[in-house]
Subunit: 233 residues, 8 copies
């Protein structure tokens, strides 16, 4: 809801929150609330508004640190908080899986938070998921061990999270038929420029079939993969 | 006032402050003091100098955290501090409104601090204001609900605060006759580059009539909107 | 084939060409040859090698200007050259369409070359396609006229080509269930930075479900859309 | 109009053109066609469609080189082509002036093309205009000679075109009450980065009241100034 | 002194310090030690080595926070610490002034730390200095009040410290005969990019005679000005 | 002179030229006209206006290609055109030299155009000059052969033109007492970024006393050096 | 090992760790673990897995702060922690030296952490090393004192760590026959852009024979130098 | 040789050329002349000076187009011009090979010019070379076919030329013991940024042992590889 601002905006209460409650209807996927650019109080009020809105359907709170996660769980008891992925999901159990499978690859251990965020998102959007770790191109045999798994006809989308050189999506896309959702991570130092190097690598993949999302955007990667692997009409 | 620096510049007292007291006369709008690049002591001395300068007229202290706001209010009792917008205004009540109306749109809840700063600035520069929240382009119906309000002939300027993709000003400018003041916010992550992505979007608006100001510069947006909506000669 | 380089590398003949003839088998999609970074002679030799390789399957030559297109058509008679899209396809007729439909949107007339390249690519990879032009966000009603068409359950992927502010994919993604493949074009001037502004807008879309490819990469967009809309197992 | 693309898109005729004929009604300002990203043939077809659309109202063709200008004038006889500003206006005479005056400043001779484009645009959008040249900050007295003219109460908007250091808008904004529309030009070399240096200077103006538009976007600057100086309701 | 590193480099003692003791002889100016990239212990050992090196001549420790300043003063008792400028000078009194005068201008209060660093450096390199504050171009009359002072024939160099738009050096250089040393400060936000905007403005000054140094490099600016204003042979 | 623009700005004649004829008086140095951003016709009219302005004093036309140089020489017969430096000077003979000497170093042959432009500028501003070529740091002995020459007390300023790594100014500044004016050139490829790499190197010189000017700005370097080496009061 | 992720990924235990135990066999050099992008717990589990993996061979833990170093040493007792270089090596003693020597140069004291990291890495990869400090180009004589040492035929690779202008590798490469491994450090401020300026300088070295690695990547520099100086077949 | 510049610098003859004739003695490798930043006349004079300098030893002219190559061959009859690599070598035959072998990999046909330049350079610096083409990571099997060849103990350095995603060096470095010299090429479009994307990928290689050189710098890559593979002392 919108309205005239009062002189002290910090005291304006909940009128600065407008839920997009029919999004699930319109788009077919649950709403998500990005937490780290909101205050704890704002996050709490969003969660409360969600609870009070009747039969609101599932919701994800992304980029939730411990304080924001606690605020959500106070309003939506039973919500599940995955600390590594910094995500809170409600209801805690994902829906029954439909459509194709989604495989999520993490190039290294440091890419795990983003890969987990993608995995949990895709699962809570209704896809069967599988996470494979430490398959970076510096040790190619580790990836090659998984090729048959990636080519399983049940797999309809592959998410690849990689930082540093960001080379893994190019290599994977050259091996499979299905789209690769590439999510650069901010892992690296110096000329990695907090994920920009990996982002550029992925945009310039010499293999077609690579869909790029924003740096560290595991939620977006998981969402896109879930859409790609959605059941047919 | 200027002068020779002493060996220990930290002890030079107030001689490093030169107020631009006739700015209101020259430009017709109140002076503003940017606080976050000044020490608490410097802010305090500016506020004191203002008070002691006779009949100084209104003044805004922008980017004021709690410490700097307290320093101002000690020197200018009764000044109003809006914590969300990080602004201190003195006198606390805005002047009587003149000229056209200013509507301020915030694409999302995270853009509220900047939108509030713009709203308060425009109001204290003498315009009637209205703040509308959560009208981002991802849920277009939310914006379309407000079109008649935006086309109200009393409205002479619209401020749009948006981060992430910064797409809202293009859409709004395509719907109305009046200028749109676009203020990119640093909301977003990764390739948002702390507001640069939104800034570029706004500079490249495919609809003419978009006036861009600096990232997170709610004060500048509100000031410009107030000038655009100023009463005619 | 590789080998020792001779002192005059310009005379080394065809041994610098290695076709990836089994790519169609391995990945399920035709090979593509990027022409504008190759000499006319190199392009000609690639086309000849293709013809002489037995039963090679379909092939696309992208970024082909008139000279390179002529060189291809001399080796692969009957190949079709689309000048606006700068693409040569062989055989000239696309395969029978399978899977979901792909809709391609061009924000403006200037985005047509890229949109056409995407359309032709998707069609020659076996998808039914549809191209819609001039639906930029500056005149929102033009897009809204097409919403039902975009929500047609037969549509499994939407390609959006846009330059300047690049705002169209965000708006489209907020309206539909299926993935949006966003391809920034280098249309614009100044701070458009030859497509970088649009690229950043798309990476920062406030609506999830946007898959970004490289600037002006219509081929990549069409390929990705065709993979997304591929028939199920 | 949109439709299925044919195999040879270069032969698709006029169906890739969709005029936004009701823009004047919706927004109150004439339509403009950006020419330099379109082929001569596309420009010609747009102009013809305009002529054939009944009573279409005025139109501007921007970034029109000699070939594109000739194509327009063949379809819209009597249209006026300003070569320096690279603009074609139809009808050739501007409407009767209404609202406030617009002053356009060019920092140097090299900024004239952009300044002219702004001037002609504002005039054809119905404002009285005035162009002042060679008032760069390196010779401050030249600007100071014009201060009273800039403070004329009839003036409601000032456009400032400047390249290189782009410092002029800051200085002008400190001298006047009305909004300054700052348009950076690509004049300069080396670290001017084709207008980026001037763009950043303007976005960081230490004086409030500066509305920035894209590099070399004289059309956008003139349009925005005309909106700002529009007559009151 | 250099040597083989030991396995635990943290315990290698003073052998990682090599003083450039003859720099004063070779270049004619005192040595300076940049502190903020060194540990407190390293700074302390440099100061001790200086003291123990016989008759070492004056030395400046720049970017010294309180801890590093204390470490220096423990080794070089009587050294003077200017906290605002973050500089420690030894001996505390500058040498007798020679050569031309150096005027230092600070565009705003926030530029004072850099301006002070320049002032103290120039003075300890043997020049008479004068510091003038709050003469930014947004209020041009404040600068114009000082023109005669800037044109004083005794003045041989003018340092200008400015952040945000960085426009002041262009304006000053257009008013005087002597070189202007322009030092951009990191004051500003958003598209100021921590001083980059001001840096570019200064490099693109439309008035010749502007010598640019690194962002926030008050020491370098003061040093260069002292060299320019050095007494003739 | 300024005035209302006419509908066809290309026919507006000379009224877009305003000479800064008293610049020599105000600043003490000749006027310079940057040619490459002006049309041949504009350059010609500037030169004619100069000739017709009474007793105008010397003038430099920089970045003048053959056409623009011919246009100048038609209006100012006898003017000297240096093709390598792309500069036209009038009168052709420099004034009698005063003040200190200026040495100009070119790191490599490719830096000669910029070095020449600096040399000619300094000479026509009244300084004795000397040009030394091919002293890049890759062959350090070539530079060391010139050290005594650089330390000649008559030398008051050293210009260093260097592209690629731009390392020469740091090395030179470490060897001499006088200021080094560093001018990066756009020589290099790839990550030289047309002079940006050299520019950054120079701004970050580990030796103080380096005054940086814009990329390829030989005129600015020569002008600054001439000011530094000006005779004392 | 990889597997399905559990709902709470933080509790998934060690299954997110896959050691590349045969790397030493495949590449001939010890494995390294980058610590600062991993949690303390993850580092601890890697170290434990290493210990439990049979006869794992040497390992380096880079970018290890005190907490992570302690975690490693708890699992691999006796491992050596160099705090300045932030590296933990196990076993603590390097292998017997083979092949050519590696000399490591640090331009200044502030470059020591990176230089130490390179030195320790090269030594634990089996090379004899030597570290020389404070040989920056601002005092060229310091470097020239070491020329014979650098030209010692036993030396097969020289690592140069430098921040700020990054000019040292160019100068060194011009003096010697062997490859120079250049590692830019993030030392500097403002336009040093955290090592980018030095990186560009090194990539543009006017002397051939410079091998560049990532900013602050002392480990990579030492590793590359050790490979270059490896004993012949 | 250096000297006073004459008024018309274009006529100054050969005195702007200083050969570094003892470079071969000092560094052990032939001199190279970068041609594309020099005029044809300058290149010709360099070649003549080389011929006339007694017994000058071998020389390479890089980035030589047809005109510059002809100028060289007129002065140094018999010199060999490789047009693809744009290099002229004199004498035409390489010296007898010594030391280890150098393998050069080109990711795609478009990378051939740079790969050839590296190959020819290494061969004329005295190494045995081998060039392998079309082994990009999009078709991994093509690279894997060559692994034994890359692991041949006679190979001491591997050059990898790659554009677009630049991912090949990371993969290669993970497979071999010897250093990989990575040379990014400007092949690609859009966000390849003329080689910057590939450059960043290579600097961030997740496998150690990658030595990066400048974009398109085949000469530098070949030179560095030749140094790495030089015979032992």
């Amino acid at each position: 809801m919108s309205g005239h601002t009062s002189p002290d905006s910090a005291g304006t209460g909940a009128e600065d929150i407008r839920l997009d409650l029919d999004r699930a209807t319109r788009r077919g996927y649950p709403e998500a609330v990005l937490c780290d650019t909101k205050t704890v109080d704002q996050v709490s009020r969003v969660a409360r508004a969600w609870r009070e809105s009747g039969d609101p359907g599932p919701v994800l709170f992304t980029r939730a640190d411990d304080d924001r996660a606690a605020a959500v769980r106070q309003q939506l008891p039973g919500a599940h908080h995955d600390r590594l992925a910094r995500i809170v999901v409600w209801p805690p159990q994902p829906p029954e899986a439909q459509g194709g499978h989604v495989v999520v690859l993490a190039a290294g251990t440091s890419d795990l938070p983003v890969a987990h965020e993608a995995t949990i998102t895709a699962r809570h959007l209704g896809r069967r998921t599988r996470l494979v770790v430490d398959v970076g191109v510096a040790g190619l045999h580790r990836l090659l061990d998984h090729v048959q798994e990636l080519r399983d006809p049940a797999v309809r989308a592959i998410v690849v999270a990689a930082g540093m050189d960001g080379a893994l999506p190019s290599v994977v896309a050259g091996l499979v038929r299905v789209p690769v959702v590439a999510v650069p991570t901010s892992v690296g130092y110096g000329a990695a420029f907090r994920g920009v190097a990996a982002l550029l690598t992925m945009l310039n993949s010499c293999a077609p079939g690579v869909a790029v999302v924003n740096i560290d955007n595991g939620y977006g990667a998981g969402h896109l993969a879930a859409q790609i692997a959605a059941p047919g009409p």
